[in-house]
Symmetry: C2
């Protein structure tokens, strides 16, 4: 039976990471292979192979003999318009039987996780299969051995960086608070103290800014592995976007499905965080768990359990973990949005008099813990050392040097359109709605519009007078500013309680 091939036509349809193939209903190949809407097909092009879900076209978008691809599928195959793409029914996946065993309550062994993670990272699972896997893992609370095995399997299907030295420091914050941009400061401090800290960060997925988006305002973050290694060799630290490094690629696919399911299981969270750290070559990781009523982790009991699993699974995978529980009740710093958060970071690094104290304190605490944990300084002297290095501008010099090595430093720009919102009554700021804060910053254009976002002039528990400025909206276009103002009319950020 001859291999069926179709000609690629570009449609420009973004389905996020879900691979979709668009096929014409009357196409002979389609009919002969028994392909229908939602059929899973294997596509081969340029020696690459993916599995995609079929949508059938009943119009002239696609001709017989042509195939369209979602942008993610096009990228995975590196397909160019006019190229031939071979198509066949996707083979049955053996690992699905292990996934089903998990659903029915069996404990999975390491080789089962290996098979499942291999198929997921190769894009062979449909989103419904990933949803079933995540649900089964949450339903039958995975034990420590399973989380350990899952973590190892996630590491093994991706790239693994190694640094030829020890310790290699890293940090992570579970369930970020708006504006909590400590990473660039911590990297600058600890690498100024001689530690190796090859930091990789993510871009925003649903938030108004990820660490990579913020740092990119000041220096390039899209480094190759070779460039990243050179920067770390020269400077000890770096701030690089992890997205193109293929560290724990299964994790990215799991997260895209877990988020809309709002399915936070400790097992999945721990495997996600630790697999990325192990793949990045870290040996000593400080993990910050902000605890608060509107944070991801709501109370101390939950935080203690998470700390326990993180520490055990890290240890079983040869990773040293130190967990810090911090206050997670309020946004950190003043800016929300890439350029505004970069401004806050720079104020702290430059020790300016109006640097946000909360951001400075959080960064110093984390850096101090890392210095002690990696035995750069004796126990009890970490905070003092970190404070010294920040206050004597060694961290600021190091930050500039790293930026220089990554391709140069530039100052963040400021949005051309600004609008100040004032208090309509006197009182105490009783609550801050972090979800609305994020939504508003995104309406203003963040993270694509780099200078867009919010600048907070007050924070939780502050006393304000009627007419006092509460925050300033920053936008790059009038339309976005208008939408943000409309949104604010019906969705106030602060609840002010008269005193």
């Amino acid at each position: 039976m001859q291999q069926a091939a179709l000609i690629y036509k570009e449609l420009g349809i973004d389905t996020l990471q879900e691979y979709v193939a668009f096929l014409q209903e009357d196409c002979h190949v389609v009919r002969s292979e028994g392909i229908e809407a939602q059929t899973r097909v294997e596509l081969v092009c340029n020696q690459r192979s993916i599995v995609a879900t079929v949508h059938v076209i009943h119009s002239d978008l696609i001709a017989c003999g042509e195939i369209g691809l979602s942008m993610s599928a096009q990228a995975a195959l590196s397909a160019e318009p006019g190229e031939k793409i071979e198509i066949s029914q996707a083979p049955a996946l053996d690992s699905l039987s292990q996934m089903r065993a998990k659903i029915f309550g069996h404990r999975l062994e390491r080789n089962a996780f290996d098979a499942i993670m291999k198929d997921i990272s190769a894009g062979r699972y449909a989103n419904i299969h990933i949803a079933a896997f995540l649900t089964a893992m949450a339903a039958h609370r995975a034990n420590l051995q399973e989380v350990t095995d899952l973590t190892s399997s996630m590491v093994d299907v991706g790239e693994h960086l190694s640094w030829g030295t020890t310790p290699v420091a890293d940090k992570h914050c579970v369930g970020g608070l708006p504006g909590n941009r400590t990473t660039p400061i911590v990297v600058a401090i600890v690498s100024a103290c001689g530690l190796t800290m090859p930091k990789t960060s993510s871009r925003a997925i649903t938030s108004p800014a990820g660490t990579a988006d913020v740092v990119e305002v000041m220096t390039p973050v899209n480094l190759s592995v070779e460039d990243m290694k050179r920067v770390v060799r020269e400077q000890g630290g770096c701030f690089v976007w992890g997205g193109s490094l293929a560290l724990s690629p299964a994790d990215d696919l799991l997260i895209r499905v877990a988020r809309p399911l709002e399915l936070d299981s400790d097992a999945q969270l721990v495997a996600s965080v630790l697999s990325k750290k192990i793949a990045a070559g870290a040996t000593h990781v400080v993990i910050d768990i902000p605890v608060g009523p509107t944070a991801k982790v709501r109370n101390r009991e939950q935080a203690n359990h998470l700390e326990n699993v993180l520490t055990h699974v890290g240890f079983a995978n040869g990773l040293n973990i130190r967990v810090i529980q911090s206050n997670g009740s309020a946004p950190v710093g003043r800016g929300i949005g890439p350029a505004l958060e970069a401004r806050d970071v720079l104020k702290v690094l430059r020790c300016e008099h109006d640097a946000p104290a909360d951001l400075r304190e959080r960064a110093l605490r984390l850096a101090g813990e890392l210095l002690e944990f990696c035995q750069t300084v004796p126990a009890g002297q970490g905070l003092e050392k970190a404070t010294d290095v920040l206050d004597n501008k060694a961290a600021w010099s190091k930050f500039k040097a790293i930026c220089q090595a990554q391709g140069g430093f530039k100052e963040p720009e400021v949005a051309p359109i600004q609008y100040v919102v004032h208090a309509n009554q006197a009182g105490r700021i009783k609550t801050v709605d972090n979800r609305r804060l994020s939504r508003l910053a995104k309406l203003l254009g963040a993270p694509e519009a780099k200078t867009a976002g919010l600048d907070l002039h007050v924070n939780l528990n502050d006393h304000v007078e009627s007419g006092q400025p509460l925050f300033t909206l920053h936008a790059q276009a009038d339309g976005e500013m208008d939408y943000a103002k409309n949104y604010l009319d019906t969705h106030p950020l602060f609840l002010i309680e008269a005193v």
Copy 2:
């Protein structure tokens, strides 16, 4: 904030039942609402409302201010090109928190199932949410009370037919065997005996023919509820396609996700079957469970458990259930495909000398059970009565009368292109691959091409001589015949064992 509206543009993209909205990346409304790829949006048009998943268009398929829809979404909204469609972020679904409670092992109450089924039937769940629900139900083996409640909830979200009489007979076969088209024969026999049997059937989803596809070769099956009621009033029985009647609509959506997950839980199967029967107004249902190594139910133990759950949950919902376990090792009848199966049905009804004996026997057994179960005849006399009514042509007269009432009877046509496949060795037919049988019939064009399919001349355990005809391929187009022959070259249907 003004309501955002976009203009509908037809794209003709079939995603099966998944609702998808295609939006232009630069569209102001899209940006202001914070809509991205995979965002769930609420769409309103013609006083109807659905929730759809967004795919973002980075080309000129869709202009700013326009919106494309998958064909299922278009149909649900009855949207015409040029019409305005209002769009907003989909509201959070309260029932998802109950779905998550199920994931974490809580027993669900009736009102929780009500909320979940209401949201699913309204199309508010993404496929990943449905996958999570099905997985959670399978993971924490639902108890009888939960299956009972789930069944009631599935009934309540759809239409409910009532017939003003009792008993109302129905039948069902769990996990069909190829060619097992007993339904039209059973309906003819029992309604000829005066019983009320308002039968609704499905079309093929992944098989080469559903009962509705087969009956449609002989008479119209797309009846309105009013026409269906008239036919039943006049004739006692009918054979109608259930798809447009909205009986247990949540079930259809659950099945579309359960099938690619290959997640067969007894709970879901029972709720699916019984909800359709209750919604159709049945009071007495005979359920056939074919048991065999390649059937859906593999062994007697599995069949006994399923029988137990069916009977209990039926009783709790006021439905009388009688289960028959039958031999599920071989295809039934000779034809596979709509017209070929209709031919077999007609041979049995007309008592022709070459009518397939297995199909006749299965239909008689089921009809006999129904007659006894509904107390039309005393216990032990059902089979005799059914045989009488079939042999004296009363069932055939009733069949024609029902067809006449549904819009007229016509003889099945015969495919213009046929090809006979012969045995390449002598021996005994040791195995029949039912999956390949279905695949081959679909390659030949079934069920869209009504006369396409296979005509089997031998069956399991038959002794054949070398060169003896095994089966005939039927097609309406040369291309489809060629593909089927190619497929057969590498995928034999029968294993012939030399004796």
